[in-house]
């Protein structure tokens, strides 16, 4: 079992947006970073490390470590630094 980030009980409800995640339509929470939205759906690893070929997951979530690098609309970006948006084309690396 890998780590599971769930809404805390006091959290207000969120709107949903639909993204295309690795070719599959997927509803995720809106109003948060793409990294947070994916962690909330149980998606932990977002890229394969180019040197070690091991899977890597977000570490800092504040734009420093680049471990959440992912392809969004054809461009590699840090998932923690962009807001999730309806219709986003998202591919893990």
């Amino acid at each position: 079992m890998s780590v599971n980030f769930k809404d805390v009980k006091e959290a207000n409800s969120v709107d949903r947006v639909t993204i295309n995640f690795n070719g599959v339509a997927r509803e995720v929470g809106a109003g948060m970073s793409l990294a947070a939205a994916l962690l909330r759906e149980g998606e932990l690893t977002l890229r394969t490390h180019p040197v070690t070929k091991m899977r890597r997951a977000p570490y800092c979530l504040m734009g420093v470590c680049f471990e959440c690098l992912i392809e969004v609309d054809g461009r590699q970006q840090r998932a923690c630094m962009i807001r999730v948006k309806d219709g986003m084309e998202v591919k893990t690396l």
Partner: protein, 453 residues
């Protein structure tokens, strides 16, 4: 293109305070910040939280909303989602918003880019499921999510703060492993009387009590932490008084204090120095926050780790000093009052700095396979061989090993290299060269550069 009197980079407590002080006194201010909402990391998402007025966070967090609301004033333009990628002293900056680039010019520049967590280079820290403690807090503040069954490990106020916030959120914590070296308590106790006069000190005591009352297993004097797993975190082991302990878990949150984000100032040419006490590079500033470059200021945690309250005070002092210089307005009475508050706060800060001074072995485990540079997978073993030849020059280490040459540009490894250097009596007085652009940018963004605000 409009010429501003001041451009501020970063909308955390110090940046917001300085921008507001200057704008209210009639200076035209441009505030650029990467996040979609003001607040910096400490008040992250405070104006748009999914947690309403939840008591997971105390007033120390919610008061950030007041600071943020003060940004709506005449003479102040706040550009959200602005990533600054190039700058020339004193105050020409290039930034991009939603893939479009722009240039702004001002007479003065304030760097208020805050802090990050010190890297904790221990075996297994690259495994999926290892996060920084700050990352868990970002998830809680900005997305209202948290995980059950985590292990928190390390040292410093943030470790206990996030543990308490997890408790309030009803989340189970498997264990809290405190790595604060026992010698720190002896050193800090001398500074205790001065810290005792600070209200914040008692908040800390209450925090510790809350964690104990919640029944979280707290282990002190923890050493040699190791995260174990094949494809993701499966367990954590540690040494306590010579005995090895191990528990299963699927997430580990690490924290060994904060370090200033000095890279922007370094790229501009500001003088920095290494602080052996706080184990970090810091930006050299005078009493008003001005750096070695004229009309370039560095305020808040990016110059030296001081915390949110002091950052705000320093932002106000810098703002008022600049207003005085710029407009001749006499604000010596307010500055005097702010400096008295600053002095009181700094007595607690000195105590915290001493108590939570990072232990060498806690921030870098000297086993050959420990990864130092996450981007390029450079290990302790590779670095041990050439660290003495480097003569304290990080650029040498970087050129020979690619350590610090990956996408994070050394932000996740430079302090670990410095830690390894210290065990070899090698001091790294400066960071490696910081090259512009300071943030990733596409050719398209460059090509579309237009002159505007």
């Amino acid at each position: 293109m409009k010429q501003h009197d001041l451009v501020v980079i970063g909308a955390g407590p110090s940046g917001m305070a300085m921008a507001t002080e200057c704008a209210r006194s009639g200076m035209s201010v441009l505030l650029l910040d990467e996040q979609p909402e003001p607040g910096g990391q400490i008040y992250r998402a405070v104006t748009k939280s999914r947690l309403g007025n939840s008591d997971i966070f105390t007033n120390d967090y919610w008061r950030g909303a007041t600071l943020a609301s003060e940004l709506y004033c005449d003479n102040l333009t706040h550009v959200k989602g602005a990533r600054v990628w190039y700058a020339q002293p004193p105050a020409d900056v290039w930034f991009s918003v939603d893939g479009r680039s722009a240039k702004a010019s001002a007479k003065n520049l304030a760097i208020a880019v805050g802090a990050r967590e010190r890297p904790v280079a221990i075996p297994g820290w690259t495994l999926p499921g290892v996060f920084s403690v700050g990352a868990a807090q970002v998830l809680l503040k900005s997305a209202a999510v948290a995980a059950d069954g985590v292990v928190l490990a390390g040292s410093g106020p943030l470790l206990y703060l996030v543990a308490a916030q997890y408790v309030s959120a009803g989340k189970k914590i498997k264990a809290l492993l405190d790595t604060t070296p026992s010698r720190n308590y002896q050193a800090a106790v001398k500074m205790l009387p001065r810290a005792l006069i600070q209200g914040q000190f008692y908040k800390g005591i209450k925090l510790l009590a809350r964690i104990r009352l919640a029944g979280i297993p707290v282990h002190n004097g923890v050493e040699q932490i190791q995260v174990i797993g094949k494809d993701a975190v499966q367990a954590i082991s540690w040494n306590q008084k010579g005995t090895v302990h191990k528990i299963e878990c699927d997430a580990v949150l690490l924290h060994e204090g904060l370090v200033p984000n000095v890279e922007f100032a370094v790229a501009l040419g500001c003088d920095t120095s290494w602080s052996p006490e706080r184990f970090a590079w810091e930006i050299n500033v005078d009493e008003s926050g001005e750096t070695s470059l004229q009309n370039v200021y560095a305020v808040g945690d990016c110059a030296r780790i001081v915390g949110a309250d002091v950052s705000e005070i320093l932002g106000r002092i810098a703002g008022l000093s600049l207003v005085h210089k710029f407009k001749g307005t006499d604000s010596s009475k307010r500055v005097g009052e702010l400096k008295r508050r600053l002095k009181r706060h700094m007595q607690l800060r000195s105590f915290l700095d001493r108590l939570y001074a990072p232990g060498d072995e806690n921030i870098l485990r000297r086993t050959p396979d420990t990864v130092v540079c996450r981007c390029e997978n450079v290990t302790v073993g590779t670095l041990e061989d050439l660290i003495e030849k480097s003569q304290g020059n990080l650029n040498f280490v970087k050129s020979l090993t690619r350590c610090g040459m990956g996408p994070c540009q050394g932000r996740m490894c430079s302090h670990s290299v410095a830690a390894l250097g210290r065990t070899h009596q090698i001091n790294f007085d400066s960071t490696s060269h910081q090259r512009l652009p300071l943030a990733p940018i596409t050719i398209g963004e460059l090509a579309a550069l237009e002159d505007s605000e």
